[in-house]
């Protein structure tokens, strides 16, 4: 039972990570497809535990997230090629989201994936570097850039909210 529970926790974390990372609806169509994808990734990753007896659950988790990141990168590259480099990710919608969610979604993919792995999925910097297949220094640099941009976005959002009563122009209708 504990193993199943941990597996559910990991699947939930990957699901949240995917929802925050992906900005193109064509990557995964609906909830059923998302569940199937996550299930498959964890099944594949759990083979790590069988193949290498020294590996722990953490290694399987890193492997599942890494595979998800690779799949979405490949999806983004393929769309960019299909549309002659003109494809950009769908701009984030601000409807129904707080400024943190919009700020994260407006980050470029390479910054977003590093930030979300660490803050949302709870990876250490080394694990994030392993999952993203990048040197540790590059991941740290991306994290710093992502946090700087996100901080600026959230500050601007707060200022806009604070200034709202003065900036709103209501027309009096008789």
């Amino acid at each position: 039972m504990p193993l199943v529970r941990e597996w559910c926790d990991d699947a939930g974390a990957l699901r949240r990570f995917g929802l925050a990372l992906v900005r193109d609806d064509r990557f995964v169509f609906d909830d059923v497809a998302a569940c199937a994808l996550i299930d498959k990734l964890f099944r594949q990753a759990s083979l790590t535990l069988v193949d290498s007896p020294g590996a722990d659950r953490r290694a399987a988790r890193v492997r599942a997230f890494a595979q998800f990141v690779r799949l979405y990168r490949r999806h983004a590259r393929r769309l960019a090629i299909d549309e002659d480099g003109g494809w950009v990710e769908t701009p984030p919608s601000s409807r129904g989201c707080g400024s943190a969610a919009v700020g994260v979604r407006s980050l470029p993919l390479e910054l977003r994936e590093a930030l979300l792995l660490v803050t949302l999925a709870g990876f250490t910097h080394r694990e994030a570097a392993e999952a993203l297949d990048l040197p540790l220094a590059v991941v740290v640099d991306r994290l710093l850039r992502a946090r700087t941009r996100l901080g600026a976005h959230m500050a601007a959002s707060r200022d806009a909210v604070a200034a709202w009563p003065q900036s709103a122009h209501l027309r009096i209708v008789k």
């Binding site: 039972m1 199943v4 529970r5 597996w7 559910c8 926790d9 699947a11 939930g12 974390a13 699901r15 949240r16 929802l19 925050a20 569940c35 996550i38 299930d39 964890f42 989201c97 707080g98 400024s99 943190a100 969610a101 994260v104 930030l115 979300l116 660490v118 803050t119 949302l120 709870g122 250490t124 910097h125 080394r126 740290v140 994290l143 710093l144 946090r147 996100l150 901080g151 959230m154 959002s157 707060r158 909210v161 604070a162 200034a163 709202w164 009563p165």
Partner: protein, 284 residues
């Protein structure tokens, strides 16, 4: 010490990637450097905001003092003193208008002794009510709506045929998929019959069904709840059903049966609350 600290180290501290020794060194620098403290507070606030925005459970106890609803429009006097300068301690009230000056006419002074007497009587009545009802407990409790949902599911579905027939918990978990795949506890004296899907409190839930040696059904509803704090089991009787609800590990659990001893056995097998299991077992 006000020297510049390596941002990578600050980042590692915020993301909990430092070993204990480096962490304590960094905390020493943190105490001496207000600018560093501000930066760390800002990044930690970002972490909390991101986790809250995408529904991840909090890593620490909620800091109600610094929580803010970013969709709320602040009043101009609040906007002039934004909360980012320092978290508002829990319990400290928000900015309020200055209280109106007390009336000083002859009528109010004449009513003074009567008012004081009423206050004394009110305080005594309040104290008596608290003693009569019992002091409110601060222990976390599972939501009453979860318990109601579990009881409703048990009433409506427990005696119907199961949708997933299996005596093997792992097989049921495999069929239900990753979100609902929490293997039910194997309970001594109860035979797992199978499972059904059922409406839960907030989402789809799994209703595991057991049978005791006399053929009486016992149900255990397991509902995935992304943001729920762990709470020990809480027992109630609903329309002749003995029901116990508890939460933990991102799930809500509700055990229900006509026989309280079966609920007690299920609660004990799940390890939710041993004292409650003993309490339920004592009841008829």
């Amino acid at each position: 010490m006000t020297g510049r600290v390596d941002p990578a180290q600050t980042l590692a501290y915020v993301d909990d990637c430092l070993d204990p020794e480096a962490r304590s060194d960094f905390e020493t620098q943190l105490r001496l450097n207000p600018e560093l403290r501000r930066e760390v507070a800002q990044w930690e606030s970002q972490n909390r905001a991101i986790r809250a925005a995408f529904g991840a459970p909090s890593r620490s106890a909620p800091d109600l003092g610094s929580a803010s609803n970013e969709n709320a429009v602040r009043r101009p006097d609040e906007a002039a003193h934004p909360a980012d300068g320092g978290a508002r301690p829990f319990g400290q009230p928000r900015n309020r208008r200055a209280p109106a000056p007390a009336p000083s006419n002859a009528k109010s002074s004449a009513a003074g002794p009567g008012l004081a007497a009423r206050r004394v009587v009110g305080a005594v009545a309040l104290a008596a009510a608290i003693v009569w009802i019992g002091l409110p407990t601060l222990e976390p409790r599972p939501p009453a709506a979860l318990l109601e949902a579990g009881a409703s599911a048990a009433r409506a579905l427990a005696d119907l045929p199961v949708e997933f027939v299996a005596g093997d918990p792992a097989a049921i978990a495999q069929r239900l998929g990753p979100r609902l795949a929490l293997a039910p506890p194997l309970t001594p004296g109860l035979r797992l019959v199978g499972a059904r899907l059922t409406p839960g409190w907030q989402a789809t839930a799994t209703l595991y069904l057991y049978e005791d040696p006399r053929g009486a059904r016992v149900s255990l509803m397991i509902e995935p709840l992304d943001e729920i704090d762990a709470a020990p089991a809480r027992r109630s009787d609903v329309d002749g059903l003995s029901v116990a609800a508890w939460t933990g590990a991102g799930y809500g659990f509700v055990a229900a049966a006509r026989d309280g001893a079966n609920v007690a056995a299920l609660v004990a097998a799940a390890g939710a609350d041993e004292s409650l299991a003993a309490d339920v077992a004592r009841r008829p």
